[in-house]
């Protein structure tokens, strides 16, 4: 006789599993979705750590983690996700010139959302102590402009979103994030223990991303090249440049791309999303048009905000060039294929 099969014990879905699947194998991408929820997960100098066992078998930390919850195939959607309208554009304000990444569209849209009280508070990433990127909460245009520009390093910014959501308050929120962070925000909105997320997060602006860098490694590499943190801005110019550009203290530096690439989070290799396809609006560099952004409006809320900005003359918009969209779609498809291959390889050892 074959004994009846014992029903398997329910698998834990808390910190222990997050450690086993994501943090201990070094796959954490420092999005910050697990931070700010509890005292057990801490973030220092760009790195997530768990000094003590939390003792619970289920937790939001695991439920929010985009690496743990990653849906690599995403077969239901095309490579760049749902798109209501594709544009190329830039901010018209002279204030933003030189301070922003590419066309300044993200800063302008976010500032407008705050100006119009569409949202009352926004979570963005900015350089903190010793130049370490970190999440900050801004409530007005000047705060947004202060955080403009990217340094391409993980700052755990969603920690600030979790803090905002834990407060006894009801005002609407916006968040700007990388694809991993947009995925995490989607998970938050769907999580039964985080009902306030769906209620309060009214605007998600996603960024295009091919990879992100751990701040500690980047800082050490910069130091080896004589560049002192903090950086005011950084960029990967399109091929065949082969360099990483860094602006620090008003001076400009170039680092070899291969050295910077070698630093990138191992967990980024499994990310299938180039264009933050779960956002209201996704924004990235516009290929072949320096100083401009490519903008994908994905939801009616996103499209409405874009329209309002153009109507007020804050943005200069043009329909996206078909060739440019073709290249973007190809790049997104390639990223998804790489992620699928990486995940398969890990699964089969």
């Amino acid at each position: 006789m074959v004994p009846p099969a014992a029903s398997p014990a329910p698998q834990p879905t808390g910190l222990e599993r997050l450690l086993a699947e994501v943090i201990n194998p070094g796959l954490c991408v420092a999005c910050g979705a697990c931070l700010g929820l509890c005292p057990h997960l801490i973030f220092l100098d760009g790195q997530v750590a768990a000094p003590d066992a939390c003792g619970l078998t289920s937790g939001r930390c695991y439920g929010f983690c985009p690496v743990a919850q990653r849906d690599v195939s995403r077969e239901s959607q095309g490579p760049i996700g749902p798109v209501l309208g594709a544009w190329q554009g830039r901010a018209t304000s002279k204030d933003l010139q030189g301070r922003v990444q590419y066309g300044g569209v993200v800063s302008e849209l976010l500032a407008l959302a705050l100006d119009q009280s569409m949202v009352r508070e926004a979570v963005v990433t900015a350089a903190g102590l010793r130049g370490t990127p970190q999440g900050i909460r801004v409530t007005e245009r000047t705060g947004v402009l202060g955080a403009a520009g990217s340094v391409y390093a993980g700052g755990g910014a969603l920690s600030s979103l979790n803090q905002a959501l834990s407060e006894d308050s009801n005002h609407p929120l916006a968040v700007v994030g990388l694809p991993c962070q947009v995925q995490a925000v989607q998970a938050m909105k769907a999580h039964p223990q985080q009902p306030q997320a769906a209620r309060r997060i009214h605007l998600v602006i996603g960024l295009f991303c091919t990879m992100n860098l751990p701040w500690r490694g980047l800082r050490k590499l910069l130091a080896r090249h004589g560049v002192q943190a903090p950086l005011s801005r950084a960029d990967f110019p399109p091929p065949p440049a082969g360099i990483f550009q860094a602006w620090s203290n008003g001076s400009y530096h170039e680092l070899p791309l291969d050295q910077v690439r070698a630093l990138s989070y191992p967990g980024c290799a499994g990310c299938p999303d180039l264009t933050s396809d779960g956002a209201d609006l996704s924004v990235g560099a516009c290929e072949g048009k320096p100083g401009w952004n490519t903008i994908l409006a994905r939801t009616h809320a996103g499209a409405g905000l874009l329209e309002l900005a153009a109507g007020k003359g804050l943005l200069e918009l043009e329909p996206a060039q078909p060739a440019s969209m073709e290249h973007l779609t190809q790049a997104a498809s390639d990223k998804r294929k790489r992620a699928t291959a990486w995940s398969e390889e890990r699964r089969h050892g």
């Binding site: 929820l37 973030f43 220092l44 100098d45």
Partner: protein, 639 residues
Amino acid sequence: MADVSKLAPGQKVLMQGNEAIARGALEAGVSLAAAYPGNPSSEILQTLADSARSAGIYVEWSTNEKVALESAAAASYAGLRGMASMKQNGVNVAQDFICNLTISGTKGGLVLVTCDDPSGVSSTNEQDARFIARVACLPLLEPATPAECLKLTKLAFELSEQIGNLVVLRGLARLSHTRAGVTPGPLPEAKPRPHWDPNERWFTIPVVPRHQVMLDKLAQAGELIAAAGVNYYDGPVRPELLVIASGSSRLYADEARRLVGAGGRVGILHMGATWPLDQELILEHLARADKILFAEEVDPHIESGVKSIYAQHVRELGLKDFYGQETGHKPPIGELSPSRVAAAMADILGLPWQETDPAYLAKAKAAQALVAPRQVGFCPGCPHRASYWSMKQVLSADGREGIVSGDIGCYTMGVLPTGYERVNAVHCMGSGPGIASGLGKLRSQGFEQPVISVVGDSTFFHAALPALVNARWNNSDYVLVVLDNSATAMTGFQPHPGTGSTAMGQAGTAVDVEQICAGLGLPYTVLDPYDLEATQEALYDALQIGGGLRVLIFRRTCALVQNKRGGHPWRMSVDPQLCRGEDCGCDRFCTRVFRCPGLVFDQATGKTVLDEVVCVGCGVCAQICPAGAIKARPKEATA
């Protein structure tokens, strides 16, 4: 402690063993007593310090045990009597001096008191310090009662002066703190004026002839001890079983023979002096018994000595059965007890023996289940808890598997859950920075883990300095954290060089940790460990810098000392509306992870409550509560 110089001679009083040693030293006319605190010895020096003014003597807490014995030796060379007291570990610290002093010799009576700690109740080891008598060829006296503590201390000074060498008196934890009737004798009326005759010189060369002199002194001590009558026999003329015992074990043996009902069959040879062994007396009693049991703590010091004597006289003595460590009748580890000795006696004599009535044992076991298990832990408000908390958080966030090299003091408990088991190694005073220094030199061979050495303020002065100089000199890469609680807290708040006060309560010159660091060219930062954010930021930065020895001074007064100085500033409270209890987002973080005894998890409500009797109001827990439920308000505002 009491001023024992004021006791009336001839009037019996209740005294601790350690107090009796102090009184014995006063009666012997000691002029200079020095010590480094360490349980179970600390009360000897404190009693002398508290008696010093009325007795007109000098008493000091020294920076370490070696310096204490050297100071006491100075009195000897000036023609006065000196004494140094220490715990067993201290004998190791003083050993280098002892092994040279024994060759150069002494003038005024000089006594070393070691208080050993079998079972290591308050020690990092249970070392039997009697080894020093054999290694350095020194007479060794072992009292069993407080009355003998007084008597043998006086004898030790006499003996020292008669042979011109150091004499060792060995106490034990039980004896140190046992109280019993003691009848003090008179104090000396006058003492000589200190003077070092310039024609007298004390050194060890030529070594070989002086080595012979040392041996001659030991032989002379043997004769004097035999004449002093401190070793004696108590029992039938021809006992079935002879017990040879010293120290507290003599009392255990006496009690054991009554417990097993063998009073008339067992004799006890009480050894008040165990080095050199009184060969004549031992041979006399070996001849009268065929079975011999040894009762002593911890090592087989008498056992091996007696067996050696027997081996030389086996033809005349015939065959004997010896019972002791080698036969398992005396455990090689841990304290002895009356029941342990009784079990050995019953086994040898074939008598029934049951330590405890089974019915009582069953009741005791049932009662034990009702008692909550307790762990040794830091006091409420202890700055060390906050310090280890920060180290735990920072080393985890650093992520390079950092190592903490520990040291001796309350903060040794960093190896235990109360210190988040954050300490990786602890050995002896000052060994922490030494080990860190070595680790910090393995960088070139691929050792990448960050290293922290923690030392208390008293340990810093006691034995850390040579290791720090070594690290500075050789450019070792680590972070020294001085856990400066401005007290020698573990041993009873004795002053130390940093506090500026002295054993006799007079103002000394405070020695400044910062100035020492500056003098060594070491970068240092002073932090308040109660400020978790600033402490963690500074520690993290210090770990990242690398490249040499750098110092963080975590300065915050011992919570117990602060309680005596008016307490802490905060009145703490827990808001049950905000407390998250066992939910995701906390899961009893304060009571399960941080674990200050001032916070208690209330099972009934599922919330944390404050134990207002235990909480001292340090305010640290308010910084770790994720919900802001633990609140710190100034005491004055709420009074």
